[in-house]
């Protein structure tokens, strides 16, 4: 596995591997530790991307130290994850807002316009009324948590 690796490469690869693993573990721990869905969105989308980044940097360093070439596969994966993780986070947040949050409990935008995605007269097309009516009415606790 680590044939003829110089000491600095061994140490650096190990450091980045451990760093990335700790970040990934912390991100997943935050997923079960944080109290409500919008804060739960925070932990994995940031920390796990950093964890993947650490592992990919370790892989790049290893390829460079062992073969003497700069590998670009890792950059491709990093680029794809960095491009797509905000989109998935936005979609998951929208699912949470539209299906579970009471609309009148949301803060109003300053211009008086509505939130993007809500139609003017009610919930977005296709949102089932049964899931919407199970949210508590305004005045009670607006957000559901476990």
């Amino acid at each position: 596995m680590n044939h003829d690796l110089p000491l600095w490469a061994d140490l650096a690869v190990s450091l980045f591997l451990v760093l990335g693993a700790v970040f990934g573990l912390v991100g997943s721990w935050g997923l079960i530790r944080l109290p409500d869905p919008m804060t739960r969105l925070h932990a994995p989308t940031k920390a796990t991307t950093l964890g993947i980044g650490g592992v990919l940097i370790a892989s790049m360093l290893l390829t460079f130290a062992r073969d003497g070439v700069v590998s670009t596969h890792e950059l491709l994966i990093t680029l794809f994850l960095v491009l797509t993780s905000p989109i998935t986070a936005l979609f998951i947040g929208k699912v949470h807002l539209h299906l579970r949050q009471d609309r009148s409990a949301l803060p109003r935008p300053a211009t008086g316009a509505g939130w993007a995605g809500y139609t003017a007269e009610g919930p977005a097309r296709g949102v089932r009324e049964s899931t919407r009516s199970s949210t508590p009415p305004a005045g009670e606790a607006p957000r559901t948590s476990d």
């Binding site: 451990v18 693993a21 869905p37 892989s59 590998s71 994966i77 929208k94």
Partner: protein
Amino acid sequence: MMVYALGFAAACFGLALLMNLWRLVKGPEASDRILALDTMVVNVIALLILLGIGLGTAVFFEVAMLFALVGFVSTVAYCRFLLRGDIIE
């Protein structure tokens, strides 16, 4: 030393996968379950890259790339299905 770091990293990501599975089973809302699945995909990508480092091949980068693509598309498709009741309108 790298062998120990590889083992530690694999154990960490395996534990992270178990935590995500817990959230997937327990999660009170659909958005939590989608988030847990998305995080599971990311952790599996990390495990695949670790496997590629361990075996010394570059094949697993393509596997990880495919996993990232499929994971992104499935997450967005599930979210759109919940939001609009339809995936391709």
